[in-house]
Amino acid sequence: MGRTVVIDPVTRIEGHAKITLHLDDDGHLIDSRFHVVEYRGFESFCEGRPFTEMAGITARICGICPVSHLLAAAKTGDKLLAVQIPEAALKLRRLLNLAQITQSHALSFFHLSSPDFLLGWESDPARRNIFGLMAADPELARAGIRLRQFGQQIIELLGGRKIHAAWAVPGGVRSPMSEEARDWILARLPEAMVTIRLALDLHKRQLDGPLQQEQRLFGSFPSLFMGLVSPEGLWEHLDGQLRFCDSDGRIVADGLREDDYASFLGEAVEPWSYLKFPYYRPLGYPDGLYRVGPLARLNVCERIGTAWADRELQEFRQRSGRVAISSFAYHHARLVEIVACLEAMALLVEDPQLLGGRIRSRARLNRNEAVGVSEAPRGTLFHHYRVDDNGLLTRVNLIIATGQNNLAMNRTVHQIARAYIPDPLPAAVEIPEALLNRVEAGIRCFDPCLSCSTHAAGQMPLAISLVAADGRVLAERCRG
């Protein structure tokens, strides 16, 4: 019968999850699973509501990245109205997303993950948290807390509140940035830059020192990576087109449009988790494993496009090769992305266009179906709505960043468990807490957002094309 070791709940992540380690009669590890144990059924209860409500409702999918849903909902709304939004609104939305990526990455690094490497994997579980870090290194903890605050405060300055600000709307945004807001951002930017430099120096020292083993063993395997890139192939977080690359840096697919997502993404269901298993359709399930998020965005882009961030990216690639395949590198990638965000903000806030002028295009409903995309802190997010002629939703489909890392998270957990747990494990022996914490930390690399990923398990409209040998499409069938 063997035995099953359960880690419940996985802590210092967002949402509800368990990990199970399955051992056979002789104590050999045969499988490890990451289970997501919550489901709210968003796509059902949004039906029948006006699409203009989606920004407010879908923001409530997640309290950490409400801005991602806000932006994806607004972008989908733009397409339903069939309007081009004003340039100022485009830039203001970008500023909002940069602020969110900054605060979310700061939360992941300082509040949730750094206690593992700064206080120690084996340290007292009662103290291995942000409060423990505040006691052990108050200066660093305060800097991290203020970096997250910086991002949150910008969101409040633009949208009126830190969490669930319904500010981006179909057609644009609701208000321009005030001069006071601009001045506040400019005044606080230097401190944020000092903090991220401190964190990068510290993390790189640890990567070269005590964290070398983790880089080898925490989810290090070849896979595909997906993310948005700009038309020039630069790092992108809101507009642009989708690109897949493989572990050798080869571009597998490029210039993909969000509208066609169902042609290249599929979703499988396993009975042991509420989180579905998206995969790259051309490779099938489960071979079509791909990763999204900070690591993927750095892997798919040619460069970032600002000076300091590009230097950091170069150094990142010197450590890992052109494509980083270790999931542990997500932490480093997050810090590099914060640099990219701060530099991009510094350029944006000086733009006088953000302080006034036209910020919203108005129109009636002009289309019945649209797909919007944004890069959430954790990866690519798709919203897909179908509406009737009154603008009431008839079908809602959301593909969430974290879900797309589900296959990779399971593989990471198994790799860590295999590396650290004695083989075979004698029946009478308990696995030490510190080892179980390392297994959990494999999940923390991905900074998963499980409220998001299951609340919005999406619909996969299925499209099948029958193509002749000469490339002619003989027949097409769509479901959904």
Binding site: E38, G41, F131, Q149, G266, V269, S273
Partner: protein, 197 residues
């Protein structure tokens, strides 16, 4: 300045817990938006259980105050809510989902053809809106079953204090817990303390 023996320094700190049930974590994020006030808080409370700030896996005994975010949507939420009530002196319904079931409660509207809302949303999510695997998540003991209806916290346990908001702002959270730290109940009055949304 040194403190005399038996002064505040040696008094046991307030044992504070936070839990999340069916919600979005936004209330917990708002708690973290206390920012540098967390340093002051750390001097007077001990965080004994929290998904964002503790690796303790089992809800401990003798908790003084617990902030409960989220509605009660599945059997695991229900079990945890009951454990919280049994082991906590003062339970706070933390945010609109705990107070009213809020957005997760919208699921209750999804009933069709005699099926409860759990069945309806599960079939939509995993049968109609996925690859044709034809299965629902089902793993007793691992994946908790959804309850037929999503409930606000007070429908499953007695609640001592209601702290509304979606989420309650950090200022409101601070105003609510500051009196508790000195053994007093907060005055939940006026729009600054009592507004939904």
């Amino acid at each position: 300045m040194t403190s005399p023996p038996g002064s505040a320094q040696e008094q046991p700190r307030l044992r504070l817990a936070t839990v999340w049930l069916a919600g979005c974590s936004g209330c917990h994020m708002s708690f973290l938006d206390l920012d540098e006030f967390l340093f002051e808080l750390a001097e007077v409370v001990e965080i004994v259980y929290s998904p964002v700030a503790s690796d303790t896996k089992i809800y401990p005994e003798q908790v003084d105050v617990c902030l409960v975010e989220g509605a009660v949507a599945n059997v695991a939420n229900l079990e945890l809510a009951l454990a919280v009530r049994a082991r906590t002196a003062l339970v706070i319904a933390f945010g609109d989902c705990a107070v009213t079931a809020n957005v997760p409660g919208l699921r209750n509207l999804c009933t069709a053809a005699g099926r409860d809302s759990a069945r309806t949303v599960l079939e939509r999510g995993y049968l109609e809106l996925a690859d044709a695997t034809g299965q629902l998540p089902h793993a007793p003991g691992i994946v908790p079953e959804l309850l037929p209806k999503v409930l606000p916290l007070h429908e499953v346990i007695p609640v001592d204090l209601y702290l509304p908001g979606c989420p309650p702002s950090a200022e409101r959270i601070r105003a609510a817990i500051a009196p508790l730290l000195v053994g007093e109940m907060p005055r939940m009055e006026g729009t600054s303390m009592l507004r939904f949304g």
